[in-house]
Protein backbone atom coordinates (compact mmCIF):
# COMPACT_ATOMS: atom_id res chain seq x y z
CA UNK A 1 0.00 0.00 0.00
CA UNK A 2 2.71 2.39 1.02
CA UNK A 3 4.70 1.43 -2.05
CA UNK A 4 1.73 2.16 -4.33
CA UNK A 5 1.31 5.50 -2.68
CA UNK A 6 4.96 6.36 -3.20
CA UNK A 7 4.71 5.43 -6.88
CA UNK A 8 1.53 7.46 -7.36
CA UNK A 9 3.47 10.61 -6.72
CA UNK A 10 5.40 9.93 -9.94
CA UNK A 11 2.61 8.66 -12.18
CA UNK A 12 -0.18 11.10 -11.39
CA UNK A 13 1.77 14.28 -11.71
CA UNK A 14 0.51 16.97 -14.01
CA UNK A 15 3.85 17.95 -15.42
CA UNK A 16 2.72 20.97 -17.38
CA UNK A 17 5.20 23.80 -17.51
CA UNK A 18 3.06 26.16 -15.42
CA UNK A 19 2.58 23.59 -12.67
CA UNK A 20 6.29 22.98 -12.44
CA UNK A 21 7.24 26.62 -12.44
CA UNK A 22 4.63 27.27 -9.75
CA UNK A 23 5.84 24.33 -7.68
CA UNK A 24 9.51 25.08 -7.99
CA UNK A 25 9.66 28.86 -8.08
CA UNK A 26 8.37 29.09 -4.54
CA UNK A 27 11.24 27.03 -3.24
CA UNK A 28 14.51 28.84 -2.92
CA UNK A 29 17.15 27.55 -3.29
CA UNK A 30 16.31 24.99 -5.92
CA UNK A 31 14.68 21.89 -4.41
CA UNK A 32 15.95 19.22 -6.76
CA UNK A 33 14.14 16.33 -5.11
CA UNK A 34 10.76 18.02 -5.61
CA UNK A 35 11.68 18.77 -9.18
CA UNK A 36 12.78 15.15 -9.58
CA UNK A 37 9.39 13.85 -8.39
CA UNK A 38 7.58 16.15 -10.80
CA UNK A 39 9.81 15.82 -13.83
CA UNK A 40 11.58 12.46 -13.76
CA UNK A 41 8.95 10.50 -15.70
CA UNK A 42 8.74 13.12 -18.43
CA UNK A 43 12.51 13.46 -18.72
CA UNK A 44 13.02 9.67 -18.83
CA UNK A 45 10.37 9.37 -21.55
CA UNK A 46 12.11 12.05 -23.64
CA UNK A 47 15.43 10.19 -23.36
CA UNK A 48 13.73 6.87 -24.11
CA UNK A 49 12.73 8.23 -27.52
CA UNK A 50 16.37 8.46 -28.45
CA UNK A 51 17.90 5.57 -26.52
CA UNK A 52 16.59 2.14 -27.33
CA UNK A 53 17.04 0.59 -23.89
CA UNK A 54 14.54 1.92 -21.28
CA UNK A 55 16.90 1.10 -18.39
CA UNK A 56 19.60 3.19 -20.05
CA UNK A 57 17.05 6.00 -20.55
CA UNK A 58 16.34 5.99 -16.81
CA UNK A 59 20.08 6.08 -16.05
CA UNK A 60 20.58 9.08 -18.34
CA UNK A 61 17.57 10.87 -16.84
CA UNK A 62 19.10 10.42 -13.37
CA UNK A 63 22.40 11.70 -14.78
CA UNK A 64 20.64 14.86 -16.01
CA UNK A 65 19.38 15.52 -12.48
CA UNK A 66 22.84 14.86 -10.99
CA UNK A 67 24.30 17.36 -13.45
CA UNK A 68 21.67 19.89 -12.38
CA UNK A 69 22.55 19.25 -8.73
CA UNK A 70 26.22 19.84 -9.52
CA UNK A 71 25.46 23.08 -11.34
CA UNK A 72 24.34 25.57 -8.70
CA UNK A 73 24.25 28.41 -11.23
CA UNK A 74 20.99 27.16 -12.74
CA UNK A 75 18.17 29.12 -11.12
CA UNK A 76 14.78 27.72 -10.24
CA UNK A 77 12.93 29.37 -13.11
CA UNK A 78 15.28 27.91 -15.72
CA UNK A 79 15.80 24.51 -14.15
CA UNK A 80 13.08 22.76 -16.12
CA UNK A 81 14.32 24.07 -19.49
CA UNK A 82 17.90 23.22 -18.51
CA UNK A 83 16.85 19.66 -17.69
CA UNK A 84 15.11 19.15 -21.05
CA UNK A 85 18.14 20.38 -22.93
CA UNK A 86 20.60 18.32 -20.90
CA UNK A 87 18.49 15.16 -21.13
CA UNK A 88 18.10 15.42 -24.89
CA UNK A 89 21.83 16.07 -25.32
CA UNK A 90 22.75 13.12 -23.11
CA UNK A 91 20.36 10.92 -25.11
CA UNK A 92 21.71 12.09 -28.47
CA UNK A 93 25.32 11.68 -27.34
CA UNK A 94 24.56 8.15 -26.22
CA UNK A 95 22.81 7.42 -29.52
CA UNK A 96 25.79 8.71 -31.52
CA UNK A 97 28.13 6.57 -29.45
CA UNK A 98 25.98 3.51 -30.14
CA UNK A 99 25.87 4.22 -33.88
CA UNK A 100 29.64 4.81 -34.01
CA UNK A 101 30.36 1.65 -32.06
CA UNK A 102 28.04 -0.43 -34.24
CA UNK A 103 29.63 1.00 -37.38
CA UNK A 104 33.15 0.37 -36.17
CA UNK A 105 32.33 -3.14 -35.01
CA UNK A 106 30.83 -3.89 -38.40
CA UNK A 107 33.82 -2.32 -40.15
CA UNK A 108 36.44 -4.39 -38.41
CA UNK A 109 34.20 -7.45 -38.48
CA UNK A 110 34.49 -8.07 -34.76
CA UNK A 111 32.12 -10.60 -33.27
CA UNK A 112 29.54 -9.02 -31.02
CA UNK A 113 27.82 -10.94 -28.27
CA UNK A 114 24.28 -12.21 -28.77
CA UNK A 115 21.63 -9.47 -28.47
CA UNK A 116 20.00 -9.08 -25.07
CA UNK A 117 16.29 -9.97 -24.70
CA UNK A 118 15.56 -6.26 -24.36
CA UNK A 119 17.33 -5.53 -27.65
CA UNK A 120 15.39 -8.27 -29.41
CA UNK A 121 12.13 -7.01 -27.97
CA UNK A 122 12.70 -3.43 -28.98
CA UNK A 123 14.29 -4.11 -32.36
CA UNK A 124 12.26 -2.14 -34.83
CA UNK A 125 13.62 -1.28 -38.21
CA UNK A 126 11.71 1.97 -38.61
CA UNK A 127 12.72 3.20 -35.15
CA UNK A 128 16.34 2.38 -35.93
CA UNK A 129 16.13 4.36 -39.16
CA UNK A 130 14.68 7.42 -37.43
CA UNK A 131 17.30 7.21 -34.67
CA UNK A 132 20.07 6.85 -37.21
CA UNK A 133 18.92 10.00 -39.01
CA UNK A 134 18.74 11.86 -35.69
CA UNK A 135 22.31 10.82 -34.93
CA UNK A 136 23.49 12.21 -38.27
CA UNK A 137 21.59 15.50 -38.19
CA UNK A 138 23.06 18.72 -36.87
CA UNK A 139 22.76 18.35 -33.05
CA UNK A 140 20.73 21.56 -32.66
CA UNK A 141 18.25 20.40 -35.29
CA UNK A 142 17.96 16.94 -33.70
CA UNK A 143 17.33 18.50 -30.28
CA UNK A 144 14.69 20.79 -31.74
CA UNK A 145 12.84 17.98 -33.51
CA UNK A 146 12.91 15.72 -30.47
CA UNK A 147 11.65 18.30 -28.01
CA UNK A 148 8.95 19.59 -30.35
CA UNK A 149 7.73 16.08 -31.16
CA UNK A 150 7.43 15.35 -27.44
CA UNK A 151 4.47 17.76 -27.22
CA UNK A 152 6.48 20.59 -25.73
CA UNK A 153 5.05 24.00 -26.59
CA UNK A 154 6.98 26.51 -28.71
CA UNK A 155 7.68 28.51 -25.53
CA UNK A 156 9.05 25.47 -23.71
CA UNK A 157 11.22 24.39 -26.66
CA UNK A 158 12.54 27.93 -27.13
CA UNK A 159 13.37 28.18 -23.41
CA UNK A 160 15.06 24.77 -23.38
CA UNK A 161 17.26 25.54 -26.37
CA UNK A 162 17.86 29.24 -25.67
CA UNK A 163 16.18 30.26 -28.90
CA UNK A 164 14.05 33.22 -29.85
CA UNK A 165 10.44 31.94 -29.94
CA UNK A 166 9.77 34.16 -32.98
CA UNK A 167 12.34 32.30 -35.07
CA UNK A 168 11.43 28.83 -33.82
CA UNK A 169 8.99 28.14 -36.67
CA UNK A 170 11.63 28.82 -39.31
CA UNK A 171 14.25 26.76 -37.51
CA UNK A 172 11.81 23.90 -37.05
CA UNK A 173 10.86 23.95 -40.74
CA UNK A 174 14.56 23.83 -41.67
CA UNK A 175 15.17 20.95 -39.27
CA UNK A 176 12.22 19.04 -40.73
CA UNK A 177 13.50 19.62 -44.27
CA UNK A 178 16.97 18.39 -43.27
CA UNK A 179 15.49 15.31 -41.60
CA UNK A 180 13.38 14.44 -44.63
CA UNK A 181 16.26 15.05 -47.05
CA UNK A 182 18.62 12.83 -45.06
CA UNK A 183 15.99 10.13 -44.64
CA UNK A 184 15.14 10.01 -48.35
CA UNK A 185 18.83 10.07 -49.25
CA UNK A 186 19.43 6.96 -47.17
CA UNK A 187 16.19 5.00 -47.38
CA UNK A 188 14.30 6.32 -50.39
CA UNK A 189 10.83 7.87 -50.45
CA UNK A 190 8.94 4.86 -49.19
Amino acid sequence: MSQNHSLDCYYNVNASSEAVIEATSQAAPLDIESLFRIQFVRIARIVARVVRDPARAEELAVEAFVKLWRNPQVDTARAEAWLYRTAVRLGLDDLRRQVRRARYEALIGSVRGAPTPEEIHSANEEQDRVRKILSILDPRQAELLLLRSHDLSYTEVAAALDLNPASLGTLLARAQQSFRKEYIKRYGKK
Binding site: Q3, V66, N124, F179
Partner: protein
Amino acid sequence: MEKNNEVNVAQWVDQRLAILTPRNAWQPDGADGLQRFREQSAAKSSWKQAWTWPAATLVAAALILFFLAAPPPRVLAQRCVDCSVALWQSFSAMPPAQPDLQPESARKLAPDFALTDVSGNPIKLSDSKGKVILLNFWATWCGGCQTEIPWFIEFQNKYKDAGLNVIGVSLDDDGWKSVTPYVKEKNVNYCIVIGTRAVAKQYAVEAMPATWLIDRQGKIAATHVGMVTKSAYEAEIETLLGRNATKP
Protein backbone atom coordinates in the same frame (compact mmCIF):
# COMPACT_ATOMS: atom_id res chain seq x y z
CA MET B 1 1.71 25.68 -52.86
CA GLU B 2 4.93 26.15 -50.92
CA LYS B 3 2.96 26.43 -47.66
CA ASN B 4 1.20 23.12 -48.44
CA ASN B 5 4.54 21.53 -49.11
CA GLU B 6 5.88 22.72 -45.72
CA VAL B 7 2.78 21.34 -43.98
CA ASN B 8 3.28 18.01 -45.73
CA VAL B 9 6.94 17.85 -44.72
CA ALA B 10 6.01 18.68 -41.10
CA GLN B 11 3.38 15.93 -41.08
CA TRP B 12 5.74 13.47 -42.74
CA VAL B 13 8.45 14.15 -40.14
CA ASP B 14 5.97 14.10 -37.24
CA GLN B 15 4.70 10.68 -38.34
CA ARG B 16 8.21 9.29 -38.30
CA LEU B 17 9.17 10.83 -34.98
CA ALA B 18 5.94 9.54 -33.43
CA ILE B 19 7.30 6.02 -33.93
CA LEU B 20 9.83 6.77 -31.20
CA THR B 21 7.18 7.31 -28.52
CA PRO B 22 7.83 4.73 -25.78
CA ARG B 23 5.22 2.05 -25.17
CA ASN B 24 2.44 3.26 -22.87
CA ALA B 25 2.95 0.20 -20.74
CA TRP B 26 6.44 1.39 -19.86
CA GLN B 27 6.61 3.62 -16.81
CA PRO B 28 9.99 4.92 -15.69
CA ASP B 29 10.67 3.78 -12.15
CA GLY B 30 10.71 7.09 -10.32
CA ALA B 31 11.29 5.61 -6.86
CA ASP B 32 14.32 3.68 -8.05
CA GLY B 33 15.52 6.73 -10.00
CA LEU B 34 15.26 8.95 -6.93
CA GLN B 35 17.17 6.38 -4.90
CA ARG B 36 19.95 6.33 -7.52
CA PHE B 37 19.98 10.12 -7.67
CA ARG B 38 20.41 10.27 -3.87
CA GLU B 39 23.21 7.70 -3.97
CA GLN B 40 25.08 9.44 -6.79
CA SER B 41 24.76 12.91 -5.31
CA ALA B 42 25.77 11.63 -1.85
CA ALA B 43 28.80 9.83 -3.32
CA LYS B 44 29.90 12.93 -5.21
CA SER B 45 29.36 15.22 -2.25
CA SER B 46 31.28 12.97 0.18
CA TRP B 47 34.08 12.69 -2.38
CA LYS B 48 34.15 16.44 -2.65
CA GLN B 49 34.15 16.90 1.12
CA ALA B 50 36.79 14.23 1.60
CA TRP B 51 39.20 15.63 -0.96
CA THR B 52 38.70 19.38 -1.09
CA TRP B 53 40.57 20.31 2.11
CA PRO B 54 43.41 17.76 1.92
CA ALA B 55 44.01 18.67 -1.73
CA ALA B 56 43.98 22.40 -1.00
CA THR B 57 46.36 21.91 1.96
CA LEU B 58 48.70 19.80 -0.14
CA VAL B 59 48.85 22.37 -2.95
CA ALA B 60 49.40 25.20 -0.49
CA ALA B 61 52.19 23.27 1.27
CA ALA B 62 53.86 22.46 -2.05
CA LEU B 63 53.75 26.11 -3.10
CA ILE B 64 55.21 27.29 0.22
CA LEU B 65 58.00 24.70 0.04
CA PHE B 66 58.75 25.64 -3.54
CA PHE B 67 59.08 29.34 -2.79
CA LEU B 68 61.05 28.80 0.40
CA ALA B 69 63.40 26.08 -0.75
CA ALA B 70 63.87 26.73 -4.48
CA PRO B 71 67.17 28.31 -5.58
CA PRO B 72 67.05 31.76 -7.12
CA PRO B 73 65.51 31.85 -10.62
CA ARG B 74 68.86 32.14 -12.43
CA VAL B 75 70.20 28.97 -10.83
CA LEU B 76 66.91 27.22 -11.55
CA ALA B 77 67.10 28.28 -15.19
CA GLN B 78 70.71 27.07 -15.39
CA ARG B 79 69.64 23.70 -14.01
CA CYS B 80 66.87 23.43 -16.58
CA VAL B 81 69.36 24.14 -19.36
CA ASP B 82 71.79 21.55 -17.95
CA CYS B 83 69.03 18.94 -17.78
CA SER B 84 67.92 19.66 -21.36
CA VAL B 85 71.50 19.39 -22.64
CA ALA B 86 72.04 16.13 -20.74
CA LEU B 87 68.81 14.70 -22.16
CA TRP B 88 69.71 15.77 -25.69
CA GLN B 89 73.15 14.22 -25.39
CA SER B 90 71.79 10.96 -24.05
CA PHE B 91 69.29 10.75 -26.93
CA SER B 92 71.80 11.66 -29.61
CA ALA B 93 74.14 9.02 -28.23
CA MET B 94 71.49 6.35 -28.70
CA PRO B 95 72.01 4.11 -31.74
CA PRO B 96 69.69 4.91 -34.66
CA ALA B 97 66.51 2.84 -34.93
CA GLN B 98 66.98 -0.42 -36.81
CA PRO B 99 64.58 -1.27 -39.62
CA ASP B 100 62.21 -4.09 -38.76
CA LEU B 101 61.36 -5.40 -42.22
CA GLN B 102 60.33 -8.86 -43.32
CA PRO B 103 62.87 -10.78 -45.38
CA GLU B 104 62.14 -10.38 -49.09
CA SER B 105 61.40 -14.08 -49.54
CA ALA B 106 58.70 -14.03 -46.83
CA ARG B 107 56.84 -10.98 -48.12
CA LYS B 108 53.30 -11.36 -49.43
CA LEU B 109 51.58 -9.37 -52.15
CA ALA B 110 49.61 -6.42 -50.75
CA PRO B 111 45.87 -6.72 -51.51
CA ASP B 112 44.91 -4.29 -54.27
CA PHE B 113 42.02 -1.84 -53.87
CA ALA B 114 40.35 0.92 -55.79
CA LEU B 115 39.06 3.94 -53.87
CA THR B 116 38.41 7.55 -54.79
CA ASP B 117 40.13 10.70 -53.63
CA VAL B 118 38.45 13.98 -52.69
CA SER B 119 38.14 15.00 -56.36
CA GLY B 120 36.52 11.69 -57.27
CA ASN B 121 39.60 10.37 -59.07
CA PRO B 122 40.02 6.60 -58.79
CA ILE B 123 43.09 5.58 -56.75
CA LYS B 124 44.35 2.03 -57.17
CA LEU B 125 47.13 0.62 -55.05
CA SER B 126 48.54 -1.17 -58.09
CA ASP B 127 48.96 2.18 -59.87
CA SER B 128 51.85 2.89 -57.49
CA LYS B 129 53.74 -0.28 -58.37
CA GLY B 130 57.45 0.42 -58.70
CA LYS B 131 57.25 2.84 -55.78
CA VAL B 132 57.56 2.29 -52.06
CA ILE B 133 54.13 2.81 -50.51
CA LEU B 134 53.32 3.85 -46.96
CA LEU B 135 49.68 2.83 -46.51
CA ASN B 136 48.14 4.31 -43.36
CA PHE B 137 44.64 3.56 -42.02
CA TRP B 138 43.50 6.46 -39.84
CA ALA B 139 40.57 8.50 -38.57
CA THR B 140 40.16 12.11 -37.49
CA TRP B 141 39.17 11.05 -33.95
CA CYS B 142 42.18 8.74 -33.48
CA GLY B 143 44.80 10.34 -31.20
CA GLY B 144 47.79 8.28 -32.38
CA CYS B 145 46.94 9.04 -36.02
CA GLN B 146 47.09 12.76 -35.31
CA THR B 147 50.63 12.39 -33.99
CA GLU B 148 51.75 10.40 -37.02
CA ILE B 149 50.18 12.50 -39.78
CA PRO B 150 52.74 15.37 -39.55
CA TRP B 151 55.52 12.72 -39.90
CA PHE B 152 53.91 11.34 -43.04
CA ILE B 153 53.65 14.87 -44.45
CA GLU B 154 57.38 15.24 -43.81
CA PHE B 155 58.16 11.82 -45.36
CA GLN B 156 56.15 12.70 -48.47
CA ASN B 157 58.15 15.92 -48.86
CA LYS B 158 61.50 14.32 -48.14
CA TYR B 159 61.24 11.02 -50.04
CA LYS B 160 58.74 11.73 -52.82
CA ASP B 161 61.45 12.16 -55.44
CA ALA B 162 63.22 9.04 -54.23
CA GLY B 163 60.05 7.02 -54.95
CA LEU B 164 57.88 7.08 -51.82
CA ASN B 165 54.12 7.36 -52.12
CA VAL B 166 52.09 7.91 -48.95
CA ILE B 167 48.40 6.91 -49.06
CA GLY B 168 46.09 7.67 -46.14
CA VAL B 169 42.89 5.61 -45.94
CA SER B 170 40.37 7.29 -43.63
CA LEU B 171 37.88 5.11 -41.77
CA ASP B 172 35.76 8.00 -40.51
CA ASP B 173 32.06 7.18 -40.25
CA ASP B 174 30.94 10.32 -42.02
CA GLY B 175 33.61 10.22 -44.74
CA TRP B 176 34.62 13.44 -46.44
CA LYS B 177 32.43 15.52 -44.11
CA SER B 178 35.02 15.14 -41.33
CA VAL B 179 38.05 14.38 -43.46
CA THR B 180 38.03 17.37 -45.87
CA PRO B 181 38.29 20.11 -43.19
CA TYR B 182 40.88 18.07 -41.27
CA VAL B 183 43.06 17.54 -44.35
CA LYS B 184 42.85 21.25 -45.20
CA GLU B 185 43.71 22.30 -41.67
CA LYS B 186 46.76 20.02 -41.47
CA ASN B 187 47.88 20.79 -45.06
CA VAL B 188 48.14 17.10 -45.87
CA ASN B 189 50.25 16.79 -49.00
CA TYR B 190 49.72 13.11 -49.77
CA CYS B 191 46.87 11.12 -51.23
CA ILE B 192 43.83 10.65 -48.95
CA VAL B 193 41.00 8.26 -49.77
CA ILE B 194 37.95 7.09 -47.82
CA GLY B 195 38.15 3.43 -46.88
CA THR B 196 35.41 0.86 -47.17
CA ARG B 197 34.51 -2.08 -44.99
CA ALA B 198 35.85 -4.42 -47.66
CA VAL B 199 39.28 -2.76 -47.77
CA ALA B 200 39.54 -2.66 -43.96
CA LYS B 201 38.72 -6.37 -43.94
CA GLN B 202 41.30 -7.14 -46.66
CA TYR B 203 43.99 -5.65 -44.47
CA ALA B 204 42.42 -6.99 -41.22
CA VAL B 205 42.40 -3.56 -39.61
CA GLU B 206 41.56 -4.09 -35.96
CA ALA B 207 42.88 -0.91 -34.41
CA MET B 208 44.18 2.45 -35.53
CA PRO B 209 46.64 3.78 -36.45
CA ALA B 210 47.60 0.86 -38.66
CA THR B 211 50.37 1.26 -41.24
CA TRP B 212 51.74 -0.99 -43.97
CA LEU B 213 55.02 -0.44 -45.79
CA ILE B 214 54.91 -1.91 -49.27
CA ASP B 215 58.04 -2.44 -51.33
CA ARG B 216 58.60 -1.62 -55.00
CA GLN B 217 57.35 -5.06 -56.04
CA GLY B 218 53.98 -4.40 -54.30
CA LYS B 219 54.76 -6.76 -51.42
CA ILE B 220 54.17 -6.06 -47.73
CA ALA B 221 57.51 -5.40 -46.06
CA ALA B 222 56.27 -4.23 -42.64
CA THR B 223 53.01 -4.01 -40.70
CA HIS B 224 52.60 -1.67 -37.75
CA VAL B 225 49.45 -1.67 -35.64
CA GLY B 226 49.55 1.18 -33.14
CA MET B 227 52.16 3.90 -32.96
CA VAL B 228 55.78 3.43 -33.99
CA THR B 229 58.57 5.96 -33.54
CA LYS B 230 59.32 8.35 -36.34
CA SER B 231 62.92 7.19 -36.58
CA ALA B 232 61.79 3.56 -36.99
CA TYR B 233 59.56 4.52 -39.92
CA GLU B 234 62.35 6.56 -41.43
CA ALA B 235 64.87 3.71 -41.16
CA GLU B 236 62.46 1.31 -42.87
CA ILE B 237 61.56 3.74 -45.62
CA GLU B 238 65.22 4.47 -46.34
CA THR B 239 66.00 0.76 -46.49
CA LEU B 240 63.13 0.11 -48.88
CA LEU B 241 64.17 3.04 -51.05
CA GLY B 242 67.67 1.60 -51.18
CA ARG B 243 69.26 4.55 -49.44
CA ASN B 244 70.41 2.53 -46.47
CA ALA B 245 73.12 -0.08 -46.53
CA THR B 246 71.23 -2.25 -44.00
CA LYS B 247 69.26 -4.97 -45.76
CA PRO B 248 66.77 -7.27 -44.05
